[in-house]
Amino acid sequence: MFLRSLHLLPRGALSSRLVPAIIATMVLLLTLASAAAIGIERSLASFQSELAGRYTVELPTAQTGAVDDETVARVVDLLAETEGVIAAEVVPAQTMQTLLEPWLGRDAAVGDLPLPVLIDIVATPGMTLDPAALAERIGKLVKGARVEAAVESLDEIGEIAGAVELSAYCVVALVAFCLAAVVVFATGAGLAAHHGIIEIVHQIGARDRIVAREFERRFLILGFVGGLIGVAVGAVAVYGFALYAQSLDSPFLPAMGDFMRALVPLLAIPPLVAALTTATAGLTVNRALRRLA
């Protein structure tokens, strides 16, 4: 019954080119904002799992002077024997230099500076080490040794990313609101343009539902088609962006497949948009008709 129409309105009554274009554009924005929110969330998750189980031991040199290779080797041995550690590796001086270059300059005589020794630890998956206890044990070999879990450095990034993600969802909500507002205006314009027909149908004894249904049908189709177009264009844009991001090969970014899988829920946008436009049109018509005695 819902799809059976009496064709009370002329063909194409509400699809003046502008309305479908606006709906599709809104849905495109909706898709991009949602994809951004999901992308940020996935990036954070992937970075988190990347860093989980990673710790760094820092053997300071500031007061004690350079730590000799033998001591470093003993620390590495101690770590290797520690339960839950599967790998412990000294960060090579070369890498340290590369890391520090932006701060010290390429030609800085790194050898002259007593650089701290860094040892990367990988824990058995699923195991967490106690950085404080580990630091205490290493401290017996090298005074002032520090152990830091890599994830801790993620907390601030996580907070910023969370805020950006929240903003993205706010954009999604605002766009959805604007979409509903566009439908209210378009429905109002349709009611005004076809006022004569509505009056006649009303006089013949049509219930408000019948008239509302005519508008709902139009906006169901407009919402769904606009939704499909918007999501399709949005998907192409997001895929292009994902390909580009992938080429950067950054640990901040999730694996392509992972990201794409996370985007699957976006397929629900066209039906959701259709539901939104349909319900809005129906409510608008009902409200307007109630003013007609």
């Binding site: 064709h7 004569g196 049509a206 019948i210």
Partner: protein, 235 residues
């Protein structure tokens, strides 16, 4: 059936265009509503088909007191009232067939039945070969016949027609009057607004006469247009 008691009507905040209207039309009656142009015939019909609220007084249509009728009950009541507008008001994007079929479809009549009824009626009003045309492609007289067909298709209990023969030749006018009389015979109460005296003489019936917004206690009746029994006096 249709009862007015001391009814007044105005458009917006303007003067009353109808004043002190009281009458009672029994079930199955056939009544002409006449009066000079601007006397208020169309306005009185609007009150009867629930398109306008009175500014005062009591109106009872098909036994229902309009002032006590909840809004949800109106569509049901309207379906029992057929209306022929002075300006036809057909739906331009629909074919003649669909315009006439609309009241039946709104009351969910089976499509086969719709087809049979509409074809038969369009044949009767001489439009059998125009069923696929749209109203803008029709002459004024043809549009008027479509409007009449739409008003009577669902066999309303009350038929209100505003100058329904104003745009057709006398022969077709007589044919349409026979249609109304036929409908009247099966029980429909009929009110026809007209100032076609010749037609009223050929097809005699009771007369309500409006003079500048008020019912006159009928000199026309005295002149012999059938008995009214209700001209100007409430029962």
């Amino acid at each position: 059936m249709v009862r007015f008691d001391n009814v007044g009507m105005r458009y917006g905040v303007g003067q009353e265009v109808l004043r002190d209207i009281s009458f009672d039309l029994p079930r199955g009656s056939f009544t002409y509503l006449t009066g000079a142009s601007g006397a208020g015939k169309s306005s009185l019909l609007k009150l009867m088909f629930l398109a306008h609220r009175p500014s005062r007084g009591m109106i009872e249509i098909l036994g229902r007191d309009l002032s006590r009728l909840p809004r949800q009950a109106l569509p049901e009541l309207r379906r029992q009232i057929g209306v022929v507008y002075q300006d036809f008001r057909l739906i331009d994007h629909m074919t003649v067939f669909d315009n006439v079929a609309l009241p039946l479809r709104l009351s969910r009549t089976a499509e086969a039945e719709v087809r049979a009824h509409v074809d038969e009626l369009l044949g009767w009003v001489g439009l059998a070969d125009r069923t696929g045309a749209t109203p803008p492609e029709l002459s004024g007289g043809e549009q008027q016949r479509v409007a009449i067909a739409r008003a009577v298709i669902a066999r309303p209990r009350l038929l209100l027609a505003d100058e329904p023969t104003g745009s057709v030749d006398p022969d077709m006018g007589d044919r349409l009057m026979h249609l109304f009389q036929e409908l009247n015979r099966i029980g429909t109460t009929i009110v026809i607004a007209t100032h076609d005296i010749a037609m009223m003489e050929r097809h005699r019936a009771a007369v309500l006469r409006l003079v500048r917004g008020e019912l006159s206690a009928g000199p026309l009746t005295a002149a012999g247009f059938g008995s009214t029994g209700f001209g100007g006096r409430p029962h």
